[in-house]
Amino acid sequence: MDLTLLADAPTTAERAAVDAVVGSAPGTGPGSPTDPADGTGAADEGRRDLLLPAFHAVMDAVGWISRGALSYVCETLHVPPAEAYGVATFYALFSVTPRAPRIAHVCDDVGCAAFGGEDLCAAMEERLGPEGSGEEVTWTRSPCLGLCERAPAVFLQTTHGHGQIAPADADAVTHALDGEDVAGPDPVVSTPQAGSPDLELLSRVGVVDPGDLDSYRAAGGYAGLRRALAVGPARVVDEITVASLTGRGGAAFPTGTKWSAVAGSPDPVKYLVCNADESEPGTFKDRVLMEADPFALVEAMTVAGIAVGARLGYLYVRGEYPAAEAALLRAISEARRHGYLGDDVMGSGRVFDLEVRRGAGAYICGEETALMNSLEGRRGEPRAKPPFPTVSGLFGKPTVINNVETLVNVLRIVEQGGPAFASVGSGRSTGTKLFCLSGVVARPGVYEVPMGTTLRELLELAGGVPVGLKAILLGGAAGSFVTPDQLDVPLTLEGTREIGATLGSGVVLCFDESTDFAAVLRRIAGFFRDESCGQCVPCRVGTVRQEEALARIERGREIGGRTVELQLLDDVDRVMTDASICGLGQTAASAVRSALSLGLIGSGGGARRNGDHP
């Protein structure tokens, strides 16, 4: 393919930023996309998989992607400029127009808005002017930043580094934008149970030094990998299957089924991918695990990779999680230095290594096939299934893709055995589960409880059922609302399904009677309209029509009356649920549907403000 490039030349800074990425990228190592033995065709496309890292480097260096920078990236990685532009404009953290090089992303999503987020937006507007204005510093509204336990949250994207502030106030944000160091969030305060002997997934959180391999080993680290290497890959896959471990990202697919399929594939090249693109509004459990116990994820991925026969694993970390990314990079480098990763893992002769890739602001990339497209340097558009990733995944190769929490569970299963894991919980819901409590709870944070714990018991752990509790958003924006009379539901896949809800990614976001549910719904509808990739019609247009109809209902400006609008919403809901390509569109009406059926909005209640819009 001949490239036709724009005439614009890169600046020295842009060129240096791109060269640093391409120069430092692992070249043709075993299992890498350009491994000549691989023959996937990825090599024919140059190193397109470095497109996002190259754009990140340019953003980090100069704050936006100019024509010259894009052309240079295209020339270096051999990507057609129209395609590269399509990729750059897909991700919210990239800008192809000049923008202030220091920007504060202020969360106004459901977990923050009523808990200081909207006030902070107003304060930022007062100080810095409207969203996006300002040549040196600016601010913008952001979807959930995964710091809901310490609302309101801010993510700083600047040419002198990235950071998170939570809880944030206007002073702290402006100081940080001016270059003052900000202390990263301390994950320990996010886990009120820290140190309790009952914990499994969270057992090391707040106990070990996340930057110190010795500390991790002293707390039992790498016993899992040692045992996995001793018993061999086949036995490890069996234990996972026996444990009945289900995916913790929201879809609850049986992990053993994925692993067996890839382990059994005759293809010599396979991949392991960790989905750490946690961005379901209200979810922050994976962030806490990565920040506070990064070696556990690195060890678990090593166990998984060797078990399924992958020699390279990719860790796709949400772009808004700089602390987690830093912790993982440090842990990987330490693990590699001590022989826990590389050409001879723990002296076993087995090969496994990890690469960290940073997301760039796209909720859809939490969908597994969209994530793989993103890793390959493409727009984060979901692929048609079948073929499933276990058959044709990353770079067209058999791929296991698992969520962070799912993978961390692997260590315990390997150490204690599948039956012991399966003895906790019931049915398909085995082991312990992390829940993200936020909103009007006394002690928000990540909680670990055995599957089957009731919602009420979970709330008791966090300081009791909140006074004036009106509704709980269970499972995230893609989940649904439950009401105080449903608190005795056992938190299992089966139990939640029975009441028409879902565990989702473990979100338990509590709202009290003072809540403006119309505002909550407006934000959720706006979220899906923003985050739809645009590939399929039901989701691309349906999310727009859903948001418009809700706006009319909220303002009392229904076309043809309430019944007609509800019918319209139901029609849009059905086509999105039935005919969208992926889970985003299929669940984009879920929370709206449940709020309407519970009468949280549109019932003439307190949230309705007819007088506001004459």
């Binding site: 036709t4 724009l6 024509r67 894009l70 057609p80 400029p81 129209a82 395609e83 532009y85 399509g86 404009t89 897909f90 919210a92 800008s95 192809v96 127009t97 913008t140 509204r141 602001g361 796209a362 727009r379 048609a384 079948p386 407006r522 706006g526 309209r529 923003d530 985050e531 739809s532 990739c533 645009g534 590939q535 399929c536 019609v537 039901p538 691309r540 247009v541 349906g542 999310t543 727009v544 029509r545 948001e547 418009e548 109809a549 809700l550 706006a551 009319r552 303002r555 400006r557 043809g560 319209l568 849009v572 059905r574 086509v575 649920t577 039935d578 005919a579 969208s580 390509i581 819009h613």
Partner: protein, 316 residues
């Protein structure tokens, strides 16, 4: 001796569609089965000469064992597959796809099939409220992913915007663009391998664009016109057709089609000359032609001025 190419010999599998069993070659799509059975299955992003992209979702069917509906254009049949096309869910989704597109796009040049399906399935795009104001030229391409102004619902958002005319051969009327990806595929790996255009932006604000939305003459475009050839809604069309439509003299009923062979090189592409008022207005090639698969080059598609001595040469 004559040799007959039998192709790959494929075993037959059994598929049940609406209670009728069909024996079809393994590897066929559900749509292949529906077509051979004579069903009128709606389609927009599907084309026989392009890789299915499953984007429009108007061809969905129910497949036993699958909770979501399945795009018939892309899903390959499996032995024992049970398909239903006669259910409320299928009819509802097809209607809603046509309705949602009609509510956001100008579908008036999408052809008779789309008009028929819209009536047949009962699409009612007008129920989403009055049409909102059109975007200024270039505005839609400048929207930042993940950010939009919250609507008040008084009007419905559309993709309306002015026609882009930046070259002598074809226009881009993106108010009609349904993002079916066909032009991108034809420009890319499915035909031309030029990659001058791609989908840019995200969600409802996604557009078909060159890099930084530069005019086509500044892009990699080679003016093969294969994007025009596959566009289902009239978003991409020749300047000749655009000007005739604008002047109110577009006359599809009076159009004749003459088949010939392109004389520019030795490949021997079959051309179909579309003639209105004794003037060639478009050139196409049949998608089932073994040489072209419906795709042409700039010479075949646009190099016809010399055969019609109607207008004097432009620049002398």
């Amino acid at each position: 001796m004559t040799t007959v190419d039998l192709g790959t010999i494929r075993r037959l599998v059994s598929v049940t569609v609406d209670d009728v069993e069909h024996r079809v070659p393994e590897g066929a799509t559900i749509m292949d089965v529906l077509d051979s059975a004579g069903a009128d299955t709606p389609r927009l992003c599907q084309a026989p000469n392009l890789t299915p992209v499953n984007a429009c979702r108007v061809c969905v069917v129910e497949v036993e064992g699958s909770r979501p509906l399945v795009p018939s254009c892309a899903r390959r049949v499996e032995d024992g597959m049970v398909v239903r096309t006669d259910t409320d869910r299928v009819a509802h989704s097809r209607r809603m796809v046509l309705e949602l597109l009609g509510s956001a796009n100008d579908m008036s040049q999408a052809g008779d099939d789309v008009a028929r399906w819209s009536i047949e399935y009962g699409a009612d795009p007008e129920r989403y409220g009055p049409v909102g104001p059109p975007a200024a030229a270039g505005e839609r391409g400048n929207r930042h992913a993940g950010h939009h102004s919250a609507p008040d619902g008084e009007t419905r958002a559309t993709v309306a915007q002015p026609v882009t005319v930046d070259n002598d051969l074809y226009v881009r009327d993106y108010a009609r663009c349904i993002l079916c990806y066909k032009c991108v595929e034809a420009c890319g790996t499915d035909a031309q391998n030029t990659f001058a255009i791609a989908v840019a932006g995200r969600g409802f604000d996604a557009t078909i664009s060159t890099e930084f939305a530069v005019p086509l003459p500044d892009s990699a475009c080679v003016y093969c016109g294969n994007c025009i050839g596959v566009c289902p809604t009239g978003a991409l069309k020749s300047v000749a057709e655009h000007e005739r439509r604008e002047a109110g003299v577009w006359d599809p009923e009076g159009e004749t089609v003459t088949s010939t062979i392109c004389s520019f090189c030795g490949v021997g592409c079959t051309l179909e000359l579309h003639v209105q008022d004794n003037t060639i207005v478009n050139v196409t090639s049949p998608h089932d032609h073994s040489v072209t698969h419906g795709h042409l080059c700039i010479k075949g598609r646009f190099g016809f001025q010399h055969v019609q001595n109607v207008a004097p040469p432009r620049d002398r």
